[in-house]
């Protein structure tokens, strides 16, 4: 299904505008949260800031308090200085032999091989698989969730870029600055080779200006649009910004080799050295035209001018809010959360960590009314489940299978309408911006059954690839719980681990009837579980508990409640 079709199908006609009237809303702001620190708060924090809340992570953060948990997630404590992960490896030699990089070696930095089989597609897949692997194996950090946030913010559709290393360097940049300085990130992304290709910056010359990046820089990346959808800047500002940015190019546009390490460079001969006049929105700023290598510094002037606008911080804080809290920002939230957050952002010279720290430490974040209201995105659903149930992937020693299984999960996210590396367009995934439904766009009559098919399958047959199978091991997962022999305790613990909102007595009774196979006595489950743990190699004992647990978890993961975090 193409994106347009998806969107039209997803929006029910009955509702053109969301109605929040009469609904309980928050009155909390950014004061630090000082309430209880229980499984409810930890689960809320982890499900929002990481991909799923695994049992070991929950136990770990329960032993900390709120502020040190947030500091750890921001890598301010208990983390070594950031060190980039090992780059993606050649996992594709069997189908696309790579003359420039042997099997098992990192391919970024080497040219793509074009013959006999082009490695461009294989490297792209390798990169995306590797990215999924980083999400699955994330440390106790916000970084991977923020990489996804920035990917959705500074969109590049990797499938449109045919230089493997460019794509890698784009990803590397987002990850490096994920918790760093926003202004630095904007400066870097503006002249990033991948972005120069994606938004035609490399074709933006004095003789033939291309306004594509200059527009998105303002409309999407920085100042954004007003609440009514109109831009605060003018069309002339777009033209002037495009002229400022003329001259940036990649050394071999469309090519696959690079003489200077796949970096962009500034070509003064293509730069428009005239003065650039901006509108009253930018206080009638004139950026003085410069020739020669100095022309590149106009880019810094442009960003300095843009970052003078209050709208930059407001736009970013609203976007963070919608990503991490809820898509509806009412007047109270705007006043008590967004405005003060934007002040923090500006006062810290656009450092990202202080904003996130204030947000995740706040009463507002832990407000009961902000719990369980976020519809999980597809990647959050898939990666979160795999992490929460500790699904084992092939090890690095079986590289081809490891990447193949990572790719399988990437493809699963894609089936659910979130293809990592390929947002549908420069605005990102509609669920993060499209009024009035926002996150509700993830759930429609096509995707909801597919979410259930995924959870059913990962619990039963699993996914087999190159001789390996990934699936939930319901027996070992259940054995890791506190007291699985007590069916009531098992139910409560699993609900507390996986659900952000409570369920009815009927649901609990139904779960019990699954464990008891409709029998009346809880002890029948206890006996079955004890039989199994007493003799784990007995196939009959194992099958008895496994079939019931599979049905049990299938039911839990199929309920509407499970889609919320």
């Amino acid at each position: 299904m193409d994106r347009r079709e998806f969107i039209t199908q997803a929006i029910p006609e009955r509702r053109q505008k969301q109605d929040f009237s009469g609904m309980a809303r928050t009155i909390t702001g950014l004061s630090p949260y000082t309430g209880p620190w229980t499984i409810n708060e930890v689960r809320h924090l982890l499900k929002r800031t990481m991909f799923g809340a695994s049992i070991p992570d929950m136990q770990y953060f329960l032993s900390l308090n709120t502020s040190s948990s947030v500091a750890e997630l921001l890598e301010q404590i208990n983390h070594p200085p950031y060190n980039p992960p090992q780059p993606p490896l050649n996992n594709y030699d069997a189908t696309s032999p790579d003359a420039n990089c042997p099997f098992g070696q990192a391919w970024p930095g080497t040219p793509d091989t074009l013959a006999p089989v082009s490695t461009v597609g294989a490297r792209r897949r390798s990169l995306k698989s590797w990215w999924i692997g980083l999400q699955l194996n994330q440390s106790r950090s916000l970084r991977e969730k923020m990489v996804l946030f920035w990917h959705n913010h500074f969109v590049v559709e990797l499938d449109t870029i045919s230089v493997g290393t460019y794509n890698y360097k784009y990803n590397e940049l987002l990850r490096l600055h994920a918790l760093g300085n926003f202004k630095t990130l904007v400066r870097e992304i503006t002249t990033n080779s991948t972005m120069l290709k994606y938004l035609n910056g490399e074709q933006n010359t004095a003789a033939a200006p291309n306004e594509n990046y200059a527009r998105e820089l303002q409309e999407l990346f920085t100042v954004g649009k007003n609440a009514n959808g109109t831009p605060p800047y003018t069309e002339d500002d777009v033209i002037a910004a495009a002229r400022v940015l003329t001259g940036w190019r990649n050394d071999l546009s469309g090519g696959v080799n690079s003489a200077n390490g796949f970096n962009s460079y500034f070509d003064p001969s293509r730069h428009d050295s005239g003065n650039k006049q901006f509108s009253t929105y930018y206080n009638n700023t004139v950026i003085t035209g410069r020739s020669g290598a100095a022309g590149a510094t106009e880019t810094d002037d442009l960003l300095d001018m843009i970052f003078q606008k209050d709208d930059v911080a407001l736009n970013l804080c609203r976007k963070l809010y919608k990503f991490f809290i809820y898509y509806e920002i009412d007047a109270a939230a705007e006043n008590d959360v967004i405005q003060p957050l934007a002040n923090i952002f500006r006062n810290s010279n656009y450092e990202i960590a202080p904003v996130l720290s204030a947000l995740f430490n706040s009463e507002h974040f832990f407000d009961f009314l902000n719990m369980g209201c976020l519809i999980k995105g597809p990647l959050d659903t898939c990666i979160g489940l795999l992490r929460e149930f500790n699904v084992q992937f092939p090890s690095a020693s079986d590289l081809a299978a490891q990447y193949a299984q990572w790719d399988r999960m990437r493809s699963q996210g894609s089936t659910l309408q979130q293809n990592l590396g390929n947002p549908p367009n420069v605005a990102g995934w509609p669920a993060y911006y499209q009024e009035p439904l926002f996150h509700e766009l993830w759930i429609n009559s096509d995707t909801l059954p597919k979410r259930n098919q995924f959870t059913d399958r990962i619990l039963t047959s699993g996914y087999t690839n190159l001789g390996t199978t990934i699936k939930v091991d319901v027996l070992s997962y259940t054995a890791s719980l506190t007291n699985p022999g007590d069916p009531l305790q098992l139910i409560e613990e699993v609900l507390a681990l996986h659900y952000s909102i409570d369920v009815s007595v009927n649901v609990r009774n139904h779960l019990l009837s699954i464990l008891l196979s409709g029998q009346a006595l809880n002890s029948y489950w206890t006996t079955a579980w004890d039989d199994y743990t007493g003799d784990p190699t007995n196939t009959s004992y194992a099958t008895i508990v496994r079939t019931r647990l599979e049905t049990f978890y299938k039911y839990i993961l199929s309920l509407s409640e499970y889609q919320l975090s």
């Binding site: 509806e328 209201c373 399988r408 509700e440 009559s445 047959s461 996914y463 009927n506 409709g518 029998q519």
Partner: protein, 529 residues
């Protein structure tokens, strides 16, 4: 003219349903003349499975009056007074628990068959394990991961769920009402059934009611998702349509909520009459695990077991009345089963412990009425460990129903039951007509994997269709053991063929499981040597 009307009209009434000159009616009905005239459509045939969770005490359900004194020695504290046992027509030695007036009447009307002492060799006394054995139709020492009904549905609709629903089969293959989809409906790859977890959720579904949610952002999103869930339930609209076709049902049912089994069966009748082509319905009633207070002290005709049997009997009777009321009696056969019977000797707490063989009831207009088998023999002196031996293997019951009600050719029964079982006269003969429906079902949906020849001895070709990317074919034996992975790699979009060789595998059923992206399909292969 309807088939049954024809039979009624052409046979003197006095000869029904008994014997014609010593030939039983079923032999008459099975004659080629009747077969050719009775153009039964096998799609019509519906099977309703009633699970009695907990292990029903067969000896206090179907009571062997000729064993009464020995029975009195073994279980005096729960024994039903012989003068209160309901006598069954045509026999003086067997009767029913006095709470079972409805089934008693149905029996005397020729609409119930009783199969004595059904079980399996080497009885397992665990509820869970024995339930799984009944659901999967495995041997006592064999662990199967698919259910017998699921294997049947996979045999009949091999492409399911790929390309379903479709015009040939627009409806769920099986529906479970009152709990999650059971193991019985699990096919070799996919579950073949859908669950309506309770009657309330069924009524919510047909009335578009969404469970209440709190007036918070989380509640708002929950309601949104639930609404989509209800709308996107694959079969919601056909179930809704069928339910809405029936606005009046028989008044025989007890009031809603007073008998959960009757509530479930009422839904089944409504959906069958409303036009669903669904083949199998599963319903259940729990509480039969009567270790204590099975009967009230001093009043053995009341108590837990009496209440349960009364509900069972009342529900089945009302259901049968409704089938007649709705004019679908010809299409429905039902049976009861429980994971085991109970011990011959009662315990001191007015109850019985886990036992072995027990009777099954089959009901419907097309069942072979009467009692199959003999009364169990009760020893003079019974110890606590004594159990009733089985007379019939429960898998013979399943196999006979598959053959005579679902019209599976006897040659194909092995595919489903994984073994040969005795054929029992449970369903009247002559209900299976040659039709092209089986072939239509075979072709319905999207076929992704097939093999030829099948059955095979030395080797077979496996053909599969991929939509590109990674493709996998695994061969499993009937116990789910992976024996070979002939395909595991990237294949271009299109049809591919591989040669699969029998590397000394034993005879039997094998499953070729195909996986490509998010789709999977399983094909039965039969190796004969």
């Amino acid at each position: 003219m309807k088939r049954r009307d024809f039979i009624r009209a052409s046979v003197p009434a006095t000869l029904l349903p008994g014997l014609i000159n010593g030939f039983s009616f079923r032999a008459f009905a099975g004659s080629p003349l009747i077969q050719s005239l009775a153009a039964a459509n096998v799609t019509d045939h519906v099977l309703v499975l009633i699970q009695l969770n907990g292990g029903n005490d067969g000896l206090n359900t179907v009571i062997p009056l000729d064993q009464y004194s020995n029975l009195a020695n073994a279980r005096s504290n729960i024994l039903i007074p012989d003068n209160l046992v309901l006598p069954l027509s045509g026999t003086t030695v067997t009767g029913l628990h006095p709470a079972m007036g409805g089934i008693h009447q149905l029996f005397n009307d020729g609409k119930v068959g009783i199969i004595q002492s059904v079980g399996y060799p080497q009885q397992n006394y665990s509820h869970f394990r024995s339930t799984d054995i009944w659901m999967t139709a495995s041997d006592a020492n064999q662990v199967l991961s698919s259910g017998w009904a699921g294997r049947y549905l996979n045999y009949e609709y091999p492409n399911y769920p790929n390309g379903y629903p479709n015009p040939t089969m627009p409806d769920p293959l099986a529906l479970q009402i009152g709990s999650s989809v059971s193991l019985a409906l699990q096919g070799p790859a996919a579950s073949m059934g859908m669950a309506i977890s309770d009657p309330t959720s069924f009524y919510n579904m047909i009335n578009g009611i969404i469970d209440p949610a709190p007036n918070t952002p989380a509640g708002k999103e929950l309601t949104y998702i639930r609404t989509v869930a209800q709308q996107s339930q694959q079969y919601a609209s056909v179930i809704l349509g069928a339910a809405n076709n029936i606005t009046v049902q028989s008044p025989s049912y007890p009031s809603a909520g007073s008998n959960p089994l009757a509530d479930q069966l009422k839904i089944v009748a409504r959906l069958v009459a409303g036009g669903l082509k669904t083949r199998i319905y599963m319903v259940n009633i729990g509480g039969f695990d009567t270790h204590s207070s099975q009967a009230d002290a001093g009043s053995t005709t009341t108590g837990t077991h009496a209440t349960l049997l009364a509900r069972l009997s009342e529900a089945v009777k009302a259901f049968m009345d409704d089938l007649s009321f709705l004019n679908i009696e010809d299409r429905v056969t039902g049976l009861t089963f429980s994971e085991f019977g109970r011990r011959i000797k009662s315990n001191a707490s007015l109850g019985t412990d886990h036992g072995a063989a027990a009777p099954m009831f089959v009901f419907g207009k097309n069942v072979e009425p009467g009692i199959l088998g003999n009364n169990p023999q009760i020893p003079v002196s019974v110890t606590t460990s004594d159990n009733l031996p089985m007379q019939f293997d429960f898998r013979s019951v399943y196999a006979s129903i598959l053959e005579d009600w679902f019209c599976v050719p006897s040659a194909d029964l092995n595919n489903i039951m994984l073994n040969n079982f005795q054929k029992l006269p449970i369903i009247q003969q002559g209900l299976c007509m040659p039709t092209d429906l089986h072939q239509l079902n075979q072709d319905a949906g999207i076929n992704l994997i097939s093999n030829y020849p099948n059955p095979f001895n030395e080797s077979t070709y496996i053909t599969f269709k991929t939509s590109g990317g990674h493709a996998l074919i695994q061969i499993f034996d009937n116990e789910g053991r992976l024996i070979k992975t002939p395909v595991d790699g990237d294949y271009p979009e299109g049809e591919h063929k591989i040669w699969f060789e029998n590397e000394n595998y034993r005879s039997g059923v094998y499953y070729a499981r195909f996986q490509n992206g998010s789709v999977q399909q399983v094909r039965n292969m039969l190796i004969t040597r």
